[in-house]
């Protein structure tokens, strides 16, 4: 209580100060421990082997990339990419070689020098280059580097990515939180339970399932960084406890992927001085239809399913207004590649809900389904409240057109395994995408044979279009192609898009320089974060 009062007095003082000195930017202060929040223990610490923000968020401070999206700029794009381990980079050979010139003053946390060997080791491992011995246990993003022919590290302070064909997306993907540089001298398997990076923070202690404690790296190659003395990531499993902890000041910032608008607003109402930032997440909600099952091979049936769901209703009921409608790529203004709104509205499912439901009923009747012989399907979803809620909404939408469904709640642990093995009829799911980039999204989620292409959608033509857009360096032309693909994927029912969730980050005002980006996966470095206490 007393501490809180002090804080109050102090803040009052601050605001006077701010008022008198006009809006002169404050000089960052050094020191302090940031109390950050996690909702679950990371499945492992190895970013290259995981697909969850629960790993990326607490492990980013330990590592560096070659390049990174400027943490202080909200909107990520090619223009906001700044140097990290690479001081500068150039495209050569007509766009077929990407050359990075590396810093020479960088040391790993264990004191070993950082060289181009480490970069080569990292990306040769991820792309499973022939002859490489280090193997990832699971490799979710191998397809990101499909266009890399070879990586040349013949000089210690430069590395060359030789490409099969020109590609503008590679740099964006390298700037994602999913692309840290791993040390070549440590086996990949050891990085699952510890971290040895070059980053601004070192792992101090891991109390399994409870706490990840990071401490400032005194030898960090950027002088004067990080500002913080350390970060404590506390794992709080219960949602209401999490928000109580934030309100009570036990936590300084929430887990960035809370997406929930209600509790953030409630927290702000209870503690008005909390700062609330609205942002997109680059995570989309969608319905997956298992295309390996004969029943769903009929496009008419798929059309009926997608027409049944009122998208505006999903935004209101499923996400309490905290979502935007869109297609396969993050919609504008948050994203750069989204389908224009007018086009998106023409996609079946995004039109007038009453008329669409009537159409869906008619289609089902044509297929021989009706009140006496209803279509029966199983809906699978993860046993996480938000998914169960959205699934509950979707199932009621189905019911309104005469589709009977039962819910299968799948524990998070076995969820991806079931999806990969295609043990489902229809699933309500969500997918996060690292950077807002067509290559990062399309290869992983829609290419024939990709393990994360859960619906098992496969079209040679779309695959060709994906290749083509990847090679198109002229932005406008590429955008047109991407929009074309977006429409095709939606019309084919590769994924029935619902929308893109938004997040509401409520944090204490003394936390400075935590700037939520449009994607949650790329701003966890914490190098610039400081506490105004």
């Amino acid at each position: 209580m007393r501490k809180r009062f002090h804080r109050l007095v102090f803040c009052a003082f601050c605001s006077i100060l701010i008022a008198t000195t006009a809006s002169a930017a404050q000089a960052p202060k050094h020191g302090g421990i940031l109390n950050a929040t996690l909702i679950e223990a990371p499945p492992s610490f190895s970013i290259h082997e995981e697909v969850t923000i629960s790993t990326v968020w607490p492990m980013m401070p330990c590592y560096n990339n070659l390049v990174i999206f400027d943490p202080l700029k909200k909107q990520e794009s090619l223009e906001t990419i700044i140097p990290e381990l690479a001081e500068k980079w150039t495209l050569q050979d007509g766009g077929k070689s990407l050359v990075f010139f590396l810093r020479k003053d960088v040391k790993w946390h264990d004191g070993q020098p950082f060289t181009s060997k480490d970069v080569k080791h990292t990306f040769d491992t991820v792309r499973e280059a022939p002859g490489i011995t280090a193997k990832l246990r699971v490799n979710p993003r191998q397809l990101w580097y499909e266009n890399v022919e070879s990586i040349d590290a013949s000089t210690p302070d430069a590395v060359v990515f030789r490409l099969k064909r020109p590609e503008s997306s590679l740099l964006l993907m390298l700037a994602s939180g999913y692309s840290p540089i791993y040390p070549a001298h440590i086996p990949v398997s050891e990085l699952r339970s510890k971290c040895v990076g070059t980053g601004p923070f070192k792992l101090k202690e891991y109390r399994q399932g409870e706490l990840i404690e990071m401490v400032k790296n005194p030898d960090y190659f950027i002088k004067g960084r990080p500002y913080l003395d350390g970060i404590r990531y506390t794992i709080i499993k219960d949602r209401s406890t999490r928000y109580a902890a934030l309100q009570a000041g036990r936590q300084d910032i929430p887990f960035i992927w809370e997406v929930a608008r209600m509790p953030a607003e409630a927290a702000k109402r209870a503690v008005p001085k909390l700062v609330m930032i609205e942002s997109s997440t680059n995570v989309n909600d969608h319905i997956l239809v298992n295309l390996t099952k004969p029943l769903f091979k009929d496009p008419k049936l798929r059309l009926a399913i997608t027409l049944a769901v009122d998208r505006q209703g999903y935004v209101q009921a499923g996400r309490q207004g905290a979502a935007i409608l869109g297609g396969v790529m993050l919609p504008r203004p948050y994203g750069a590649w989204g389908l224009p709104e007018a086009e998106q509205k023409k996609i079946p499912g995004f039109g007038d809900p009453v008329k669409q439901k009537a159409d869906a009923k008619k289609l089902l009747a044509e297929l021989g389904y009706g009140p006496s012989k209803p279509l029966k399907i199983a809906v699978s979803t993860r046993a996480i409240p938000i998914y169960v809620d959205i699934a509950g909404y979707i199932m009621d939408q189905f019911r309104q057109v005469g589709i009977q469904s039962t819910l299968e709640q799948v524990e998070t642990g076995v969820w991806h395994a079931k999806m990969t093995r295609r043990e489902f009829d229809v699933a309500v799911s969500a997918t996060g995408i690292g950077p807002d980039d067509p290559d990062a999204n399309l290869y992983e989620n829609f290419k024939c044979g990709s393990p994360r292409n859960y619906s098992a959608y496969c079209s040679d033509e779309v695959d060709r279009m994906i290749e083509q857009q990847s090679q198109t360096l002229e932005r406008d032309k590429r955008l047109k192609l991407v929009n074309e693909i977006d429409k095709r994927l939606q019309l084919d029912g590769a994924r029935m898009m619902l929308g893109w969730s938004k997040e509401y980050v409520a944090m204490w005002p003394y936390v400075k320089n935590v700037v939520p980006h449009q994607s949650i996966y790329n701003y966890g470095r914490m190098q610039e974060v400081w506490l105004d206490k």
Partner: protein
């Protein structure tokens, strides 16, 4: 007559009985009592406060909370009654055999019961419902398992006490079959403690379902279960829309409270050893 005397002597027990009766009636006539379809979502009216059209407000999907509670009574009754009866029946059969036959069978059954008792109720239910697929039937089975040893103990105790009595031996001598003896003489004597046990377990089964829901393994959608209404997204909306949590919480607590009151009153009436407690 007996009932009237019970009500006069045990007013709190009678209140408990009335609440349970109300639960049964609500569950039976849910179709006519509900004002809305309990799983019908309404995106226009999410988290609406209680009004004349939505008596207890709506939840985050715009579903009518009153109607969900009414239908939830059905789920709670099914889970509570189903789990208790299943557990009690299994326990009774095992208890009857092991008490009546004795010997190796008894020894084996006793160890089995000790095993089930040694594991905490919630842990056992948790593993069971993780092992079985989540469905209302499996939740009932999972919750019933820990009830088995309790019921078994009650019945076996009665059997042991009665087996030695002279008139049983007399009946045996007259050539009356085992089954008849069990039905005629043993079961009626055990019925009192048995009713007490099931009444008390009814409430606790409902609570276990709620705890399983909290851990994500309760009765799945689209069944409106009180436990899930209280635990799934309730926490998220508790501050903004308290009615989302207050009413299902009140429903659970009321029914469990009533089952405890009734259980206590019945214990006093039917179980002579504890006759002197008043509620």
């Amino acid at each position: 007559m007996k009932a009237i005397r019970f009500f006069r002597q045990k007013p709190l027990g009678a209140v408990g009985g009335a609440v349970i009766l109300a639960l049964v009636l609500t569950a039976t006539f849910a179709d006519s009592l509900a004002t809305y379809d309990p799983i019908r979502t309404d995106a226009e009216h999410t988290l609406a406060r209680p009004t004349r059209s939505h008596w207890l407000g709506t939840d985050n999907l715009g579903r009518d909370i009153y109607s969900r509670i009414v239908y939830g009574a059905r789920v709670s009754l099914m889970v509570g009654l189903g789990a208790t009866l299943l557990g009690a029946a299994l326990g009774a059969v095992i208890g009857l055999f092991s008490g009546y036959l004795g010997g190796w069978i008894d020894l084996f059954a006793q160890r089995l019961m000790e095993i089930l008792q040694g594991l905490p109720l919630l842990i056992l239910a948790l593993v069971m419902s993780a092992a079985l697929k989540p469905s209302i039937g499996n939740v009932i089975v999972a919750i019933s398992v820990p009830i088995v040893p309790m019921a078994e103990r009650v019945i076996r105790g009665s059997v042991l006490a009665i087996r030695e009595l002279a008139y049983i031996e007399g009946a045996r001598a007259l050539g009356v079959g085992h089954f008849t003896i069990a039905m005629r003489h043993i079961l009626p004597n055990a019925i009192g403690p048995f009713i007490v046990l099931t009444t008390a377990q009814f409430g606790s089964a409902i609570l276990v379902e709620a705890a399983l829901s909290f851990l994500g393994l309760g009765v799945p959608e689209p069944w409106p279960s009180w436990g899930r209404m209280l635990s799934i997204s309730a926490a998220e909306f508790a501050q903004k829309a308290p009615w989302v949590v207050v009413f299902p919480g009140a429903a659970i607590s009321l029914v469990v409270f009533a089952s405890n009151l009734l259980g206590d009153a019945l214990r006093d009436t039917l179980d002579p050893r504890l006759r002197r407690t008043h509620i």
